[in-house]
Amino acid sequence: MKRFIKNARYLYLLIGVAVVIFLTQCGLNPFSIEMAASGNANEVSTFLLHGSTMSRIDNNQANPTYATRLLVGIMVPKSWNAKQQAVVSFTSPKGDETMTLIPDSEIEPVSGQNWSAAAKKRFGIGPNLVDDFEWLIYRSTKVYTFVNNEDINFDVKVSCKLGPENMLVKLGFYIGSSRENLRPDDTDYTKFAFSNQFEVTNGTGELIDFINPQLSKIEPVKSLDNDIVTFTFDSGVTNTSLSDTDDIYLCATAYDAMNAVIAESCERTAKNKLNALGGKKYRIDAWPRGLFNIAPEVAISRIEYYYTDVTGTKRVGYGNTADPFRFTFSCN
């Protein structure tokens, strides 16, 4: 009799574990991304997401179904203007649809922020190192109802005209359920992934590299001479002539729209000294109009700059050469 009771306990435990596994397996499977390695600037590129559902619903529930709208998110560079340019649609055995962009005025219920900000907070910018991205979340207009074991495959198609600039990025994608929203603890219905590197070619300007560590960068990427910009020098990327010193100074030249030199700022004083951040990284924040002491009627169109030591003899510029880094002030 005792033995029977002991065995029954194990049986109940086993059934309990099986039920838990059964219920928690409901949701979306991880999706795969199909896309080209590059696309032409100002032309439409297509990105495909191959997803599937795993519908495990307890038929003993009062209403053993799961009804939801499909959510799809994309993270793309702001300069692509994807709010206007992107079209997101999907095909599935339960129906095909072109999805609707959730407007900025709508609040994501869990975070209390709009959907774009909530997605950025939840998913970040992935392996990209420079933040000039936006998350856009699209929603199906119809509600789709699933019953137990209704496992389907579906394909999401994202078409978007690329921006005008040459760049190297990793794009972000999200697929989820409108019933779960962006609940931070949900992993069953919230799937996101970042793509392999994607290059925009045949565009304007020098390549903007978002994914590889840069010897130097300026943020915000889109800024004018009346913004406050941050110069970051990462001496840990490669061995440079400034690797043996923490006393690093910014030396910059300002140009106008006619490509004429307006002013130079190359003082080896506290004004131009970078602050050490640790890990061989250095930073200086500057208001360009103040840095160059520009008259109100003059506009700085672009700058060239390099980093130097206290003596001014060592010089690190683009590609770890003596050539200067270049930055054009623009909001586009």
């Binding site: 915000p220 004018l224 913004d227 208001w287 909001c331």
Partner: protein, 145 residues
């Protein structure tokens, strides 16, 4: 008889108490002060796209002086909505949400304005985009003693 007197007294006391509260509340609701921002304001914090720049850039010299005659001047220079002196006004004297700065000889700049009390002190909170419109700066000022 004595009991009756007590009841009348308590009723009278209650009526007077309620009546006095009513007039107090009514006075409070209609008594929103006109916002006077005149004085010299210095920057206590600055963010760019939500990232704090307060400890990273010298903010100690930049000041905005609002005079009671409706004019303003700037001390030192920084990435700000205007760079020249001029006139100012609030869009609403009691419930302002915009500060309008009009530099002499130039167009007016409308700035998002808040006037919170933080740690017992009024702060002037201005949200501006002096460069690209996508770059949002929030300046918080306190009045100089």
């Amino acid at each position: 008889m004595k009991r009756k007197k007590y009841i009348i007294f308590y009723l009278l006391f209650a009526v007077l108490t309620i009546a006095s509260c009513k007039s107090e509340i009514a006075d409070t609701i209609t008594d929103e002060t006109v916002k006077d921002i005149s004085g010299t304001w210095k920057v206590v914090s600055l963010t760019r796209n939500g990232e704090s720049l307060t400890q990273r850039i010298d903010l100690s010299k930049f000041k905005v002086i609002f005079k009671s005659d409706g004019t303003y001047t700037l001390e030192d220079k920084l990435a700000f909505a205007v760079s020249d002196p001029g006139t100012y006004n609030l869009n609403d004297p009691q419930y302002p949400y915009s500060l309008i700065l009009t530099p002499t000889g130039k167009d007016a700049e409308k700035i998002s304005f808040q006037y919170p009390i933080i740690e017992g002190k009024r702060q002037l909170s201005l949200t501006i985009s002096p460069g690209c419109t996508g770059n949002i700066y929030q300046y918080n000022f306190v009045k100089e003693n």
